[in-house]
Symmetry: C2
Subunit: 450 residues, 2 copies
């Protein structure tokens, strides 16, 4: 039953496109799920992809377009006329249509909107374009089922049949008063289990979670996850029901956030995939590498400042990568735990208490590791315990400082409204390299006196 993308299938489709064999193409594609067709399209050349999009009817291709990568979609849309894009939008839910429109140039947007035949759909889409893309207003769709509290169940079912035609998945039925203000909800299940003459006002659930059009996407995701909601209604400034956000959009949102945090931690400054162009990959990778090089260069200058140690204590220099690496590792651990705690909302209590805990943890781990290092260095340095002792004390100090930086920086960034995930990865490893080497040589200079 599972669809399997194979090189043979792609070759077959490419051949059929080349032959302009529409009948066979339709036979191959019409029974496939739109997500599967999207996978095929991503393997084709732009001309082949455009050909297939134009061949299939817009009921299908509107869904296919939504599944594509933004960059692939952009290229295909450039190959379509404004009227053709409008045909696609007619078939889409308002939230998807607005997302697509937002990707076009302003001029193109106006042409496409002017080509829309369904005036109400056009009005809804234009309304959604007004909202910030990461707010509830930007995430919501206008499609939903609304009923009045004064209706009976029978009247409600009749009205729902009409409304539900445009609504792919019903999830919940929202109850509004005469001013269109959200006052409660009903489940389809509830409608099935009561007498048709019952008034909606008698059976609706007045407790309903909702968000405002301006609520941030992150907050919408947090509420929907916390309360396990499939959909959440969105109201405007004066409480009128204007849309709803469904869980599938939130799943995408959560995944994107997680991927972004992960990429930041890995020093990638742009959403990038393995198959992206050299230009895009370089844009994603080079900035952090460049900053890391500058940071490391400062560590070189610091080490050079202690060059008087070269003569008698040259062995100290064997350990600089170890000190730098451990500072980086400890810093990344601490900052990752803080960044996740902030993301989960599980980080409570004072900054001071947290810093004290980090110091204690690093002392605990640091003493253990310093002892291992002391023994190890004693053997490789030909039984010279002085340098080994210096290095071990420096390791312990560096681990404590590194964990403090790893804790303090993300919490402080977050306090000032900056994404704490920025403080992970190369940023924390590089700054800890610099501090680590400075502390290391300072301790060595004090202990050994060079």
């Amino acid at each position: 039953m599972q669809f399997q993308l194979s090189p043979e299938l792609i070759q077959k489709i490419e051949l059929l496109v080349e032959e302009r064999n529409d009948k066979e193409l339709l036979l191959h594609l019409q029974d496939l799920h739109h997500a599967d067709i999207a996978e095929i399209i991503e393997e084709l050349s732009l001309d082949e992809a455009t050909y297939i999009i134009k061949l299939l009817d817009s009921e299908k291709t509107s869904e296919v377009l939504m599944e594509l990568d933004e960059s692939d979609r952009e290229k295909i849309l450039n190959n379509l006329s404004s009227k053709e894009i409008a045909d696609e939008l007619e078939e889409m839910d308002t939230d998807d249509a607005a997302d697509i429109l937002a990707e076009l140039s302003e001029e193109r947007q106006e042409e496409v909107i002017a080509s829309l035949e369904d005036a109400e759909h056009a009005k809804d889409i234009k309304e959604l374009l007004r909202y910030d893309e990461d707010s509830a207003g930007g995430l919501m769709a206008k499609e939903l089922v609304r009923v009045r509290e004064t209706w009976t169940v029978a009247g409600c079912v009749r009205e729902m049949r009409r409304q539900a035609e445009n609504v792919t998945r019903v999830h919940s039925i929202y109850v509004v008063d005469k001013d269109d203000k959200l006052i409660g909800r009903l489940s389809l299940k509830d409608l099935l289990t009561v007498h048709p003459k019952t008034k909606i006002s008698e059976i609706y659930i007045p407790r309903v979670d909702y968000v405002n059009v301006h609520t941030e996407g992150e907050e919408v995701a947090r509420i929907m996850q916390k309360y396990d909601l499939d959909a959440i209604p969105v109201v405007d400034e004066i409480g009128r029901l204007v849309g709803r956000v469904t869980i599938d959009d939130i799943v995408d949102f959560i995944k994107e956030e997680a991927e972004r945090d992960y990429q930041l931690a890995a020093g990638i400054s742009l959403d990038v995939e393995a198959d992206d162009s050299y230009y895009r990959q370089t844009r994603a990778r080079l900035p952090w590498l460049f900053l890391a090089l500058i940071g490391s260069f400062m560590a070189v200058i610091i080490a050079e400042g202690f060059d008087s140690a070269l003569e008698n204590y040259g062995a100290l220099f064997f350990f600089t990568p170890l000190i730098a690496a451990m500072a980086g590792n400890v810093g990344v651990q601490s900052s990752a735990i803080i960044v996740q705690g902030i993301a989960n909302g599980s980080l409570t209590g004072s900054l001071f208490k947290r810093l004290v805990k980090e110091v204690m943890l690093s002392l605990l781990n640091g003493i253990l590791l310093a002892l291992v290092l002391l023994v190890g260095s004693y053997y490789i340095l030909g039984h010279d315990y002085l340098i080994g002792l210096t290095v071990s004390i420096a390791l312990l100090s560096v681990m404590i400082i590194a964990s403090l930086i790893g804790t303090f920086v993300p919490i402080t960034l977050n306090k000032y409204g900056i994404d704490p995930a920025l403080a992970t990865g190369p940023f924390i490893t590089t700054s800890n390299d610099i501090f680590g080497i400075l502390i290391y040589f300072s301790i060595a200079k004090y202990m050994l006196g060079f």
Copy 2:
């Protein structure tokens, strides 16, 4: 409308528990959502938490328990009798009940199951316990609405009223044949829009996505996301409908996977939160730090092997942390992109082609950065271009090797069924430190001849 956890609220609740003022406590808690009560409970002492769990009725507390952290839940369950736990399980969906049971000791499990009054519920829960926790069988619930193809819509609605009582959210109605084999699905919407005398066989949708009880959780998540499903039916080895997985469980699953990848990349070997105990935090952090120390120690030994450079080319040693850091940064970038590509299923094409692309990318980035380093080192080394040239050539070589390792290792791990995310973070930085320093000194020895 939003619930806000405040220190005042916690104090108030603590006071009421101390006074054993049950009436006031119920007044405060009964209107709260179970997710909010769970947040309160996580702030209380174990005795206070247990008191509240025993006070509220199990319809509410069963949901509260599911929201708690596993470690908090474990402590509270230890304070409850087997009969009390059984009362909680009676109110839970089968999948949640089985998850809770799986957390208990085997002896306790048997006691609790023996205390369950609803024999069918007990049988369902026992069935779920048989499956691997990360398989579709382990993720699914037995609660669902099933109808026979031979029924009419009216009969179906009647039967659904009965079944739907136990099903929190209906999502889809599954259609089975006389042998209970899954043959299709219906939406509630469809039921509302056709005549009551219509036969189910005339209106059901025969194309239905499903998974097998043994399908891995990751695959279930992938399918549900790809096809935007709210729920997916699960069949046994011979195609009989045995349960369904709902999107809320998958959202949790996706989040846990993302958190785990993130923690692995940060060198944290255990799911850990900022508020966890010293013992648990040390268990999560120390293993990787220890391995990183051993790895770094090997880099020290390698550097020591080139100690003959100390006399005339001591400045080389200023650059070891820079070389190691850049090797680590490049390795983490490459491996992160590969790990995400594997997770997304977007990684296609041959390993060889991918390695070639990485080499080209590192050449591009490396040449730019090596030039910057050449100019920088020329100035700080008092216009000695020879060491600067050595360092720059080494940087370029090290970046290429680091990106090859970062690409090759996760792909190879994945090929042998090992989680590729293991290859990120400290593993890749440490091994790249070692290779980086070896390559650096080898190039230097060749160029400078010490």
